[in-house]
Amino acid sequence: MEFDVNGRRMSAGAEPDMPLLWVLRDLLALTGTKYGCGIGACGACTVLIDGRAARSCVVTAREASGKIIRTIEGLGTGRLHPLQQAWIGHQVPQCGYCQSGMLMAALALLARNANPSDAEIDAAMTNICRCGTYPRVRAAIHAAAQAMRGSA
């Protein structure tokens, strides 16, 4: 099966019902995307599919094939993305396990809303962070949004 991941064509011997998460992790060696629950509840496996945030543990290989997939490894290649810079600036991560998914969810949010309000961030960012980095996630999204508007 063929996959378009981070701008590259990749092929993997995936069964059609294999979740995209495991295609990425076990077949394509892209381990930045994490397993947390397998039922789409925690968001640790969030990637972008055709620009929208998707929980890759509940998307099958068949559904993902032929679509444009972006993972954490495709964020800020060469130069850090403004979201990553804001994440460093606000010292968001603690254990860091959920942060790939958090960043991809934030990327999808900013792609459709360049200046999200607190309520819009609340509604979009439903990922679980057991370390409780939420206040800094919120602050970093505002900072990245501002930086991206400034450079646009």
């Binding site: 495991w22 010292q91 254990c95 942060q99 960043l103 609340d122 939420y134």
Partner: protein
């Protein structure tokens, strides 16, 4: 129990060892040139510091990075004394060696009341335990002890390294050491000559370890006490950070497992054929339970999803065992029964509490309760193992590498020196990764597929249903006030299972003993409130439910019992809860300062309509914390808008990390206060995953403001201290808001 037995049990490692060890030589924790494994082109200065060929300073960190920032805070201690910059630092995992044993952990585990801490008995047992910690290689990350334990040895390691840099430079320049200095990672001569660290590697090999060391006084610190960015953050925003589940080895296989769903049950029968018929499946293994693990069936395949799918194709027959009827109601009834029937062990007594209650003008009585809780670290339990060429290699996100090595060697039947333990980053620990139940499972699977490496990963459902839970607890409190509303007596009897004896049975069966366990009552008997008459006792009641250390351990529920009850007494005395506490702390200036800082920053009592403040103070892990929570109700739901957190943690090595940990621990405690409850039915844990065991998300997270009390005292703990006060702060605010006193966790207004 007699005092002597109590003391030996209190040592937590068994009295026999204390006797057996005899007189131990005092031992330096500096280590030597050969403590760290050799690395080509590098030079080791002692057991904590080496200089790599490129001139970077590699610090050996013997604690696990699980989000709490030890991969930054501990190297900062070395850098401060060594005179190097944070940009020069790199972190490597320390090997297993006695110099890295966590002395602070065992010393703080002693069950002494603060009033007794300078007694002879206390000092004698601290001395013995400190020696034992060194001898036992207890490389443990827990108990908010990492910075406390490293505070002296890692600064000494940095000071020793600096002395050696100066000696090496002096030798090269044929100069006196007094003419040389180290700053910003460069060695300088008074005349302006400079040497980079990499230029000194050859000379440093000839320089002996220095003798006496001088540590900087606090006013000379340039790094300690200033916010600094974490060294681990860049890799955590790019996906490069390597957690346990990210280990990838040539030829590695993947395993999924299903453990017996009933606590104490056994495997009766499984036919492996349906799994073996599926693509990619290598084998089906049955695993006995060991080190606290339950019996399980595992499938090994060429990918984890295939292993998990094959597992679901199996029909496994379990023998439910002796606890098939066990339920949460039954457990609670038994715990209440024990509380009714037994006096328990008295951890602290002053005056005569019961007699004083009889003559009290006003009495307050209440029963408080807390449920079992799961850790729910986001990275599910996993472990990678390889048994090849007579060596066993383990890759694990663990808080206890030395215990992992011990248990892995025991399981494989080989010597510990043939076991390598590689500690990965931890996707959360919170005490769950103090356990080693998954280690025998991974070792058995590695043996079954040897020499191939195998990565065992539990599903979320296995992780939730096979945890070592925060014990359920219950406390009955009686308080007495005199005719003027002044506090007279406080009598508390609580009941729960005890973690330490259970843990020892799992990890060190030879040392297990049923002795009083401080974790059952910490946060209740050791708080500073001055009542003329006090009596704190605890009834330990064993149950089949596996229990373990959950962020802040006994403090997590005892602070709820303690701080809500103090609030109840304040209202009974018709005093403002802040004022009531302040008077009880007349002789405790440090506590009062923290309480008053939180109240001032929150503007105590000044809230908008429909909102209320609640306050709580707590001392734990060597620090003092106070929180004011601002709470309202929205359609019957509890809404926490803002938490003001004040902290006295002594020296804050990196205030940025301290603030992070306050936020982290508050969110963790608030999740438990609002949602956390593990229940048991038919001997099984009922909650499977996040939908049944919910977590606070961004939308429910309050604004959190942290304020530090300036201090140059030695550091206190940071990682756990802000979890205990949040539940009582919220409950106390709810009382002010609604007039209803919620005495059971999680906080539920309906019912």
């Amino acid at each position: 129990m007699r005092r002597r037995g109590f003391l030996l049990g209190a040592l937590g490692v068994g009295g026999a060892l204390v006797v057996g060890w005899g007189v131990l030589p005092p031992r330096s924790r500096l280590g030597a040139h050969d403590t760290l494994p050799p690395l080509y082109g590098a030079v080791s200065l002692n057991g904590w510091v080496r200089i790599a060929p490129d001139g970077s300073v590699v610090v050996a960190v013997p604690r696990s990075e699980m989000g709490q920032g030890v991969y930054t805070a501990l190297p900062m201690l070395v850098a401060e004394e060594m005179g190097v910059t944070l940009a020069q630092l790199r972190v490597e995992q320390a090997p297993i060696d006695a110099i890295y044993g966590n002395v602070a952990l065992l010393v703080t585990g002693l069950p002494f009341h603060p009033d007794q801490e300078n007694g002879e008995l206390a000092r004698a047992s601290e001395w013995i335990v400190a020696k034992l910690a060194r001898e036992l290689d207890l490389q443990v990350t827990g108990g908010s002890t990492s910075v406390r334990d490293a505070w002296r040895p890692m600064r000494e390691a940095g000071a020793a390294a600096r002395a050696m840099l100066i000696a090496a430079a002096a030798q090269r320049w044929h100069a006196a050491p007094a003419q040389c200095s180290v700053a910003d990672g460069v060695v300088r001569h008074l005349d302006g000559r400079k040497l980079a660290l990499r230029e000194l590697i050859g000379t440093l090999r000839e320089v002996p370890l220095p003798g006496a060391l001088r540590l900087k006084p606090a006013q000379e610190f340039t790094l300690i006490g200033k916010p600094a960015p974490r060294l681990d953050v860049p890799d955590k925003v790019t996906g490069r950070a390597q957690f346990g589940i990210d280990v990838r080895l040539p030829g590695m296989l993947y395993a999924a497992l299903r453990a017996c769903p009933t606590i104490g049950g056994m495997l009766r029968y499984v036919d492996p054929a349906p799994a073996l018929a599926l693509p990619g499946v290598v084998r089906v293994s049955t695993l006995a339970g060991a080190a606290g693990g339950a019996p399980a069936v595992a499938v090994v395949a060429d990918g984890w999803w295939r292993a998990q799918r094959a597992l679901q194709a199996l029909h496994i027959e379990w023998d439910a065992g002796p606890n098939a009827e066990m339920s949460s109601d039954w457990l609670l009834a038994r715990l209440r029964g024990a509380l009714d029937a037994e006096d328990g062990f008295t951890f602290y007594r002053r005056g005569d509490g019961e007699a004083a209650l009889v003559r009290a003008a006003r009495r307050v009585e209440a029963e408080y309760r807390a449920p079992y809780l799961a850790h729910a670290a986001l990275e599910p339990i996993n472990c990678t193992a390889r048994l090849a060429n007579g060596r066993l290699s383990i890759w694990a996100p663990t808080q206890v590498p030395s215990i992992v090595r011990h248990v892995a060697a025991r399981t494989a039947g080989i010597d510990a020196d043939r076991v390598d333990v590689n500690v990965t980053l931890l996707g959360g620990g919170f005490g769950r990764r103090l356990e080693v139940d998954f280690v025998p499972q991974a070792v058995w699977l590695a043996r079954d597929v040897a020499p191939a490496p195998v990565q065992l990963l539990w599903s979320r459902e296995e992780d939730t249903t096979h945890d070592f839970y925060r014990p359920a607890a219950i406390a009955r409190m009686k308080g007495g006030l005199d005719a003027n509303g002044a506090p007279l007596a406080w009598v508390s009897k609580s009941a729960s299972d005890a973690i330490v004896p259970q843990y020892l049975r799992r990890a060190y069966p030879a040392l297990a003993a049923d002795t009083p366990d401080k974790t059952t009552i910490e946060g209740l008997f050791d708080q500073p409130y001055e009542f003329p008459h006090r009596h704190f006792a605890h009834v330990t009641h064993r149950s089949p439910v596996p229990i373990g250390f959950w962020r802040s351990v006994g403090h997590s529920h005892n602070a709820f019992f303690c701080e809500c009850f103090i609030d109840e007494m304040a209202y009974a005395a018709r005093r403002d809860p802040l004022d009531f506490r302040r008077r009880l702390l007349a002789r405790h200036a440090r506590h009062r300062a923290v309480l008053e800082l939180a109240a001032a920053k929150a503007q105590w009592g000044r809230v908008g309509p429909g909102r209320a403040h609640g306050i709580a103070l707590h001392e734990c892990f060597g620090s003092i914390v106070a929180q004011v929570a601002e709470v309202s109700l929205a359609q019957g739901e509890i809404r926490v808008h803002r938490v003001v957190c004040a902290l006295d943690c002594g020296t804050a090595v990196n205030p940025e990390i301290v603030a992070q940990q306050m936020e982290s621990a508050i969110v963790f405690g608030l999740t438990a206060a609002l949602y956390g409850e593990i229940t048991i039915n038919a001997g099984r844990v009922e909650q499977q995953s996040f939908p049944q065991y919910p977590m606070l998300t961004l939308a429910g997270t309050p604004r959190i403001d942290t304020h530090l009390v300036p201090s140059d005292a030695p550091p206190g703990g940071v990682g756990e201290v802000a979890t205990p006060p949040i539940a009582p702060a919220v409950a106390n605010a709810l009382f002010r808001l609604t007039g209803r006193r919620l005495r059971s966790l999680p906080l539920r207004l309906a019912a």
